[in-house]
Symmetry: C2
Subunit: 217 residues, 2 copies
Amino acid sequence: MKRSLSRETRIALEPRKQPRQQRSSKVVDRILDAALTLTREQGTKAPTTLAIAQHAGLSVGSVYQYFPNKEAILLDLARRWLSSFPEVIARRIEVAPPTNREEFRQEVRKLFIDTSKLYLDNASLMPVIEAISGNADLRPIQNEYDDQIVALYAAWLQHVNPALEDKVASRLGLLMMEVGHACRLVGLKRDRKTYDLIEDDVEVMWLALVNPYLNLD
Amino acid sequence: MKRSLSRETRIALEPRKQPRQQRSSKVVDRILDAALTLTREQGTKAPTTLAIAQHAGLSVGSVYQYFPNKEAILLDLARRWLSSFPEVIARRIEVAPPTNREEFRQEVRKLFIDTSKLYLDNASLMPVIEAISGNADLRPIQNEYDDQIVALYAAWLQHVNPALEDKVASRLGLLMMEVGHACRLVGLKRDRKTYDLIEDDVEVMWLALVNPYLNLD
DNA sequence: AAAGAATGCGACTAATTATTCGCGTTTGTC
DNA sequence: GACAAACGCGAATAATTAGTCGCATTCTTT
């Protein structure tokens, strides 16, 4: 294992080179596909480079043509999801804030549905997310995204109630994220009907959590 | 790495031998101490056997006198906590069930306080718990304990409301566990004041979650 | 104090696996 | 079809680390 890189400051993440020929861009897809499939098969355990290469019908050398290291592969898979999260929350801040309890409940519901959709649409990606959380090298990167998400939930809360203190907003944001994430992860491991029931439960909890902090009549 | 054991069926967990002389039982303590300290220092990453031995002022050979493998060390640390969880919940089932909303609220509060105390009293152990969750070999063992805990939360719910369907009870139990665990883990990483605020939030969410499923007047 | 059991040691073994590098092959371009 | 660039290959390298084993030391017992 030539892993001296990891020690320096952080993991290299940029792709080693851009694919120039058509065949190679298909190769990148095959690598990502293989990594996803294997992570799912092995239940949240990051696959080895050799396993990824073989499953993609390639050699290890080819994998390293496009990815600087193993971590970058998993991260590539997760990145679109991780970055779409802040986007979705940000979009819910652009609208006019609610003026009464019923409007507020509707806003919670919208945010709730939008974020739920991110989980449902990317259900197959969840093992990768779990693998990243379980990897000491990748967790710091996860945490950066998490901090962003918490900050945006907090911003959303202050959009709904501008009088909300920063500290309270970020605490509530943190809990919204944590509760949503934990419940949805276990929900996705069960059947669709149970997932939907769990979703209702989460919405109830979210509402109960934030209601006391909103000065709406 | 002579790891053929792990492949067979499961990890050996029994201690290799019982300490017979006083010096050696102190050694076991030193090993566990070192493992705990190092896991904390490295932030939820399982330390190597060499690091554990050195930090305990021992050689690797001595570590293997008392532990069959590295996993057993972490598990030894976590086990008391993992098994005290079901005990604490079971104790809350022994009392007479509540007969009205106020008594019910009190019962939730008691269960809530008891489980919270488990986290506060074992705060230093949480990195080990996280390391176990992040280790593919140990997760199955975690899951067994989790299943027990969910079953007991469900039993508690049915104790409070015998008419509650099994399916609903176990779903709510699962969410109580997940929400409690996720929120308390992040709570413990913050200051005590914030932890207490998060605790209040969790209680609010628990109550909101289970209230609709209780036929009390 | 002598024997034997328990404990402690740490160099060594071996399994695993990330990453490299030089060479052969394919592709796009003129 | 010839040339260069891109691509693909996989044996070899090297880092890491779990676990062993025979010998040395310390304790217990008589």
